[in-house]
């Protein structure tokens, strides 16, 4: 007799367990369902881009809509990229990339070192002041900077796009590197100083080897910012043969504004290198965004 209640409560508990599993399963299904819908919606514009870039114009405008190009017009890419000299624009962009990425890496590393690993009077106050630049709208400095470079006769060259990167590389990168440098234990530096090393030596021999991931993050972010920059070249560059990819793409879209097959092919060609870079260096991306986002 004693057993009956025990076994019935056992049955109840297995039943409620079954119910809990079921609720968990439904919840899981809901989560994955939403994520899947979200993924499809996020990817659809990319699919639309690719499909349009590989179609003949006649098929693009067909109703009902078709998703698979027939035939695959790979020649759209060749046509789009040779009608205006995209190879030239690419070289121009890479020239700017070289000088901006190197300037940013060198000077932001040096300054971030000063603001994180050396103790000096006024350091934190000055860094706080520098941080306010994050909130300053670029529109405020745009006009005086333009007038300044024009006065120096440097417009229609890459100088206005390159020189600022050699002065600290922008507050964002400075902040990111400083955050990273502060995670390295200070004993390392102190021991080196007691052995008679100078701060530049400590930076070169101790900090830099440890900071490689952070430097890669800075290099990638800077590379992408230059690749995507539109307003800077728009304001400073006049001659067609000095155009960057972003300016060139806009120039191209002005000339072929109803040729969606060519426009999508050219756009894909400008987007693709960044996406490839992202996949190659994905680990660093996530790290970098997290480092600046959270602790900000």
């Amino acid at each position: 007799m004693n057993r009956a209640p025990a076994s019935s409560s056992l049955r109840i508990s297995t039943r409620s367990q079954a119910r809990a599993t079921m609720i968990r399963r439904i919840r899981q299904a809901g989560i994955y369902g939403l994520l899947l819908i979200g993924s499809v919606l996020t990817l659809l514009p990319f699919l639309w881009l690719l499909r349009s870039s590989l179609m003949e114009p006649a098929q693009i405008f067909l109703f009902p809509v078709e998703w698979i190009p027939d035939p695959f017009m790979w020649s759209n890419y060749r046509e789009a990229l040779t009608r205006v000299p995209f190879d030239r624009f690419f070289l121009n962009t890479m020239t700017i990339e070289f000088f901006v990425v190197s300037g940013t890496l060198i000077t932001s590393t040096i300054s971030a070192f000063a603001f994180s690993r050396l103790r000096w009077k006024g350091r934190d106050l000055i860094f706080g002041i520098l941080l306010t630049a994050l909130m300053l709208p670029y529109a405020v400095t745009l006009i005086p900077m333009f007038l300044f470079w024009k006065e120096l006769g440097a417009t229609n060259s890459y100088i206005p796009l390159i020189v600022p990167s050699w002065f600290g590389g922008g507050i964002f990168n400075l902040f990111l590197l400083r955050q990273f440098f502060m995670t390295i234990p200070r004993d390392l530096d102190e021991a080196a100083y007691l052995d008679g090393a100078s701060p530049p030596q400590v930076l070169w021999k101790i900090i830099l080897p440890l900071a490689k991931p952070a430097l890669i993050v800075v290099a990638i972010f800077t590379f992408i910012a230059v690749w995507n920059d539109f307003l800077g070249p728009l304001i400073y560059i006049d001659d067609n043969d000095k155009y960057t990819l972003a300016l060139g793409l806009r120039f191209f879209s002005g000339m072929y504004n109803a040729q969606w097959d060519y426009l999508m092919a050219a756009s894909t060609a400008v987007i693709l290198p960044i996406i490839v870079l992202f996949f190659v260096a994905q680990r660093y991306f996530i790290e970098g965004i997290t480092l600046t986002g959270i602790k900000g």
Partner: protein
């Protein structure tokens, strides 16, 4: 200097003296090595800002020489320039629409991804991809997606038997269309939210479980309060970015139709680089700075009431 260094090694110098030598060295090198960033700030941020303030008090056209005209530019803005108000309105509307929608979406997706999801990195990658698309390619792509006759957006709406839209070609839908574009880039804020969620200490959730609280209780009394600093950060960054939108309007609509998408920075750009009115454009720039400053201060003020900092309570 070199002498004292050798002295220190030769004799057993007291540690305090060693430390003071180190402090001096750090002071000197700190300033030298911090110089690039400080000079950059002086030459490319604060200097231009002051110059901009001065230019805004002149009638400088790009060719002639500047004449001081006091606050005439500012009074023209407020009393004699309907486009100024129109552009301010369009910009506020855009920010008020795109910032909360993008933040809401990115927060929601971050929460979903934080449920011990399998294939987390795959989903995260997919959602982040749109952020990488260069602004100019993005605008060309969306011009095509939102094409009223052959674009994907209307194709989908028709499939679902919903009314189609003119999107960028109507005064009432142009700003919402651009907000939709902005939402496509929700992955940037999402990654920051996700990292924040992963940083919430697990034991806090466990303590709610001990008290018998369910999913909703955990969400309301742990997740939300612990995430407020991250929400705050994304909000401030979103507002600053939203107020400075430019490329979408510049490429896709040139501010139209009927100036409905004349973003403030686009208006400023035109004033400066099409009409060459550098004085007036600088006044516009300064006003934008003040507007962003005021909005940011208001958000900071309100933050006291809703942002939770761990250090505060204990």
């Amino acid at each position: 200097m070199a002498n004292t260094a050798t002295d220190q090694r030769a004799l057993p110098v007291p540690k305090a003296k060693l430390r003071s030598g180190m402090a001096k060295m750090e002071q000197r090198w700190g300033i030298i090595m911090g110089l690039p960033a400080m000079l950059g700030f002086l030459c490319f941020t604060i200097g231009p800002m002051i110059a901009s303030g001065w230019i805004s008090l002149t009638d400088w056209q790009i060719s002639g020489s500047p004449n001081y005209i006091g606050f005439d530019n500012y009074s023209e803005m407020f009393f004699d320039d309907p486009l100024f108000f129109k552009s301010l309105k369009a910009t506020f509307y855009y920010a008020a629409l795109s910032v909360p929608l993008t933040l809401g979406l990115s927060f929601l997706v971050a929460i979903l991804l934080n449920q011990k999801v399998k294939l987390l990195s795959v989903f995260r990658t997919i959602f982040y991809l749109p952020v990488l698309v260069p602004a100019i390619a993005n605008t060309i792509l969306w011009l095509w997606l939102l094409n009223p006759d052959f674009g994907l957006a209307n194709v989908l709406l028709e499939k679902l038997h919903l009314p189609t839209s003119l999107w960028l070609y109507s005064e009432t839908t142009v700003i919402p269309s651009m907000a939709l574009m902005a939402m496509w880039g929700f992955g940037g804020a999402m990654i920051i939210f996700l990292a924040g969620l992963q940083g919430v200490p697990q034991h806090l959730y466990e303590s709610i479980e001990v008290d018998g609280g369910g999913t909703w209780a955990k969400f309301r009394s742990i997740t939300i309060p612990m995430m407020t600093p991250t929400i705050f950060f994304n909000l401030v960054m979103g507002i600053i970015g939203g107020f400075q939108a430019f490329t979408e309007a510049f490429i896709m609509t040139s501010g139209g139709p009927n100036n409905a998408s004349l973003f403030y920075v686009l208006y400023l750009y035109r004033t400066a680089f099409t009409e060459s009115r550098m004085g007036y454009a600088s006044a516009l720039a300064w006003l934008l700075f003040l507007v962003i400053l005021i909005v940011t201060i208001l958000v900071f003020r309100s933050a006291r009431n809703w942002v939770y900092y761990e250090g505060d309570r204990s």
